[in-house]
Symmetry: C2
């Protein structure tokens, strides 16, 4: 029931995933049975899907922790509980981000050695993608938390993108070791002493340049940066369209180049790429954007499957011990 277009986009995406998966997994659709069933009835075939009833719905306006307490029969709580009880191997939702984070952390618990689970978001760069951690799970992160984000980010990139030795950078206001705020300066020291492939401080401009594979920051910074980045395509579309309106020739040229512009801007539309993992919880929890399309839902399910089969969590627990 999560997201602005639930259950329709969720059901459509789940069925797409099942179709493409060739029977590797099944999907439990958690939500108000009659509404989900009604949606499901629109498709054929629809095998591989089971509905699990959950009467309540956490809205985007609900305060996360309050929602967990008052709506115990929500699709989020029921879904995460199925995962905890071993009836599902992973949990995927386009619902209220804060509620999914809270439910996942409280119900699944944290991995050994992890104090603060983190959200990792893959950004496009001039080269290979860069994982931004923390993309919004925590504010006022302490140096130790920034260190944990670095380890989890490094393991995720290594396990999921096949990059054996990810370069980790700490986002700061200058490259020199003297640059930073109180928390980042102390984190820099921890990271310099660690066994991570740490390149030191990196600046805002280094992300899109692809200078590092993992860019580490507090979730307050990461969330603002992520959402700023997400708004670039709409900004450019507005600017190109204003340019096109200036003359007939401009209009013509912009129409001709439309496909190329779309191809490039879609790379920045990272909504489409399918959700962000909540790393550090004892399970697999993928959080999608409220406006997730069926394609995004499908990609989230595949990403969840991959996190399970690649045993990302086991690697995180190992790494947090070994990298310190």
């Amino acid at each position: 029931m999560g997201g602005d277009y639930a259950p329709e986009n969720v059901v459509a995406g789940a069925l797409d995933a099942l179709r493409e998966s060739g029977g590797r997994f099944t999907v439990l659709l958690v939500g108000q049975r009659e509404r989900v069933q009604q949606e499901l009835d629109r498709y054929s075939p629809r095998h591989g899907c089971t509905i699990v009833d959950a009467r309540e719905v956490v809205t985007m306006e609900d305060a996360p922790n309050a929602a967990l307490k008052t709506k115990r029969d929500s699709s989020i709580t029921v879904g995460v509980s199925l995962h905890r009880d071993g009836k599902a191997d992973a949990f995927v939702s386009a619902g209220n981000t804060g509620a999914v984070m809270s439910a996942s952390t409280l119900i699944l618990g944290r991995l050994a050695g992890i104090a603060r689970p983190t959200i990792g978001a893959l950004l496009p760069t001039e080269r290979t993608p860069c994982l931004l951690v923390d993309a919004g799970a925590n504010v006022d992160s302490r140096p130790r938390h920034l260190f944990e984000f670095s380890v989890m980010g490094s393991v995720y990139v290594s396990s999921m993108l096949g990059n054996g030795n990810p370069r980790v950078g700490l986002l700061s206001i200058g490259e020199e070791d003297s640059k930073g705020n109180e928390a980042s300066l102390e984190a820099l020291r921890l990271l310099r002493e660690s066994k991570l492939n740490f390149v030191g401080n990196v600046e805002g401009r280094d992300v899109l340049r692809g200078k590092v594979d993992v860019a580490v920051c507090d979730g307050f910074v990461g969330n603002i940066l992520l959402k700023f980045g997400e708004s670039i395509p709409a900004f450019l579309k507005a600017k190109f369209s204003a340019y096109a309106k200036k003359s007939f020739l401009n209009t013509l040229v912009m129409v001709i180049a439309r496909r190329g512009r779309k191809a490039v801007l879609s790379e920045l539309d990272y909504q489409e790429h399918g959700g962000v993992p909540l790393l550090g919880v004892s399970g697999v929890s993928i959080i999608g954007h409220g406006r997730s399309t069926p394609k995004a839902i499908k990609n989230m399910i595949f990403r969840a499957e991959e996190m399970v089969t690649r045993r990302v969590n086991a690697s995180i627990e190992e790494a947090i011990l070994n990298y310190a």
Copy 2:
């Protein structure tokens, strides 16, 4: 002597400004006399320029505070001192940002009611430009500092862009009043109680959308955001060029649309627009990018002139008393 292309770009920009100004002001070029003179000799006419000798040069690698102590005869120290002594009405530099900030703050002093001077950077948006404060002068800003940035930003936009009632937003991780970190939550309270046209929390995506005229944050966040934004044109150029290489048709289309692409991307190239003001010091100090072009230097000089004639500092001192 400041910047990667000094003194050549500085001299060229100063002469361009003088040419366009129609004698409204004169320029003191501060630096090693023979090097500046040599550069000046390449141009004609060159009246309106006076060289003030300063033997030392603060490099981009110098630590700001150390440079002030050890290089007392640098162009930065001498230039700012001329301003303090009333021999210049404003100071403009493309040199070491930290050194210009320190020299300006220590030599000029702060405005009444201001604890922390701030850097304001104008970003393009879908509508009118948005001033990002603090763009990097401070880290670990306290709530009162965020309030001061808001007042200074509001006055700057109102005085310089003629927007009588600028909308001020506090950058955060969600629009609700409950969202933020420790400092931003307390700043939100101060701003809600103030007489500013405060719209509340805004998110990273709201900046380019043009939702506010002033976006307020700690300098750690602002600097990372600013530099991330600065890197977008190069990123897009790389992506468009990769797209063009995919086929002959793509190449053709991209060549045809080149001018439009350049026009739009140049809007994002805010280096060109000419430096950022250090607000809150008792004087006018404009800091340019190390790679400042002659055009950027020229624009910095015009911006400095405007800050003087529009009496921005008097308005800040008045506002900080009245808006609280």
